[in-house]
């Protein structure tokens, strides 16, 4: 076949700009959803740890919804479904400022919060209850025992899973293309359509994804080793 690989087309000018803009959007999506997801996950973990059945059930339902429905569908529910609940004026305003990315951040953050809170919970659960009893019996308060005995171990136990979620979130940002957020995959598709350079456009974008993913994997393995729980 007469296809000549020519990366110079996508490595300069308008097309490179589009891909770099996509990269920027991807990183914004990733960073904001990660921070929001982590904060919400901590909150959910605390709520679930409190012995009150109705709130525990609500958190469990939240977690199960986000774990058993595809992320793409969660994005659809927010983007198509939630929008009709809002008044028209709000919708017009949101469409003017480009609401897709907002919906994508909300959906990704809620999804990650569900997974991360499960990781925290399993970290907490794998610490023997006797540790709490021992800490209380030497005179620490409940919060003191949490602060000095339980949490320093629990977060180390949860860390590898959390880092795994970080990689999954980074790759998950590509699904935002499904609701029209102009992130990296969306731009790859657009550049390919405009320039007819299939292999160059997808090759470059795949390479960018791989480099960042490898960086996350490398950072994860460094952090996991650095903060491994040595006494158990």
């Amino acid at each position: 076949m007469g296809y000549q690989l020519d990366f110079s087309k996508v490595l300069q000018g308008e097309y490179l700009d589009l891909i770099l803009q996509g990269l920027q959007t991807t990183m914004i999506l990733f960073a904001i959803s990660w921070v929001l997801g982590l904060l919400l996950a901590v909150f959910l973990t605390v709520v679930r740890a409190i012995e009150f059945k109705p709130t525990q059930f609500l958190v469990a339902a939240f977690v199960e919804y986000h774990r058993n429905v595809p992320i793409l569908i969660q994005l659809f529910v927010w983007y198509f479904g939630f929008a009709v609940v809002l008044p028209d004026a709000v919708n017009d305003y949101l469409n003017d400022i480009g609401a897709e990315i907002g919906y994508a951040i909300v959906a990704l953050a809620l999804n990650k919060a569900a997974y991360m809170s499960e990781d925290f919970r399993s970290g907490l659960r794998s610490i023997h209850p006797a540790q709490m009893e021992a800490a209380r019996s030497i005179g620490l308060t409940y919060l003191g025992a949490m602060r000095w005995v339980i949490l320093p171990q629990a977060w180390r136990l949860a860390l590898p899973a959390l880092l795994g979620q970080t990689l999954i979130l980074f790759k998950g940002t590509s699904l935002a293309a499904g609701i029209g957020v102009a992130e990296l995959s969306y731009q790859a598709r657009y550049v390919e359509e405009q320039s007819f350079r299939i292999f160059e456009a997808y090759g470059l974008v795949t390479l960018i994804y791989m480099l960042i993913s490898f960086a996350i994997m490398w950072g994860s393995s460094v952090l996991s080793t650095r903060y491994r729980l040595r006494v158990k």
Binding site: E64, F76, A188, S213
Partner: protein
Amino acid sequence: MLEILQNYGILLLIGEFPHGKLGGLAMTLIISFVSLIVTFPCAILIALARTGNSKRLKSLASGFVHCVRAIPLLMLIFWAYFALPVVIGFPIDATYTLIIAIVIYQTAYLGEIIAAGIEGLPKGQLEAAKSLGLGYIPTTFKVVLPQALFNVVPGIVNQLTTIIKESSLGSIIAVPELSYAMLQVNSNEVTKPLQIFGILAATYFVLCFALSQATGVLERRIANRRTGRVIVEAVA
């Protein structure tokens, strides 16, 4: 909400079948099962390479696993849908490209699960097989794999849940599966997106929640069986 199910229920279940293409929920299930069945032998090969003695095969397999894990599934689907036909010179049906992408992606993940199952076997099993004079092939197929695969059955069922969820990406390249059917319904009934996507989410939820509950039951049964065995061994 009931009105949507009445009007589009059949379309969502089986698509335009028998007058046209199969689609909807049936298509989602077929894509998922076919993907899992094709992935299975590939994943076993990766797992054997990962746990085997050959250094070269080991690094090849681990290179494959790391690279696949570094790419979003959507990019793999784009490659399979837009770039693959250019390479092979003729168009392929979107359904097949989706299955190809999922198989490549899941081979990496399922391979790791099976490799963990193989590594989880007690060393004594291999030593016993060796001392009986069994070669690599009989050891692998008569000793290692039957036990390792049995122990990772929950992991495999769990991957099926993941595959069902991943097949929703087919809607982006117009594979006539459940999500795509729902997007079509949504473009017909523009006024009820919340109900429509609520039904869609609920369908996936019921399917995947049931499977993940089944995973939990399997996990406990297999754990019981294994500990049961250990007790018997200890007594003997």
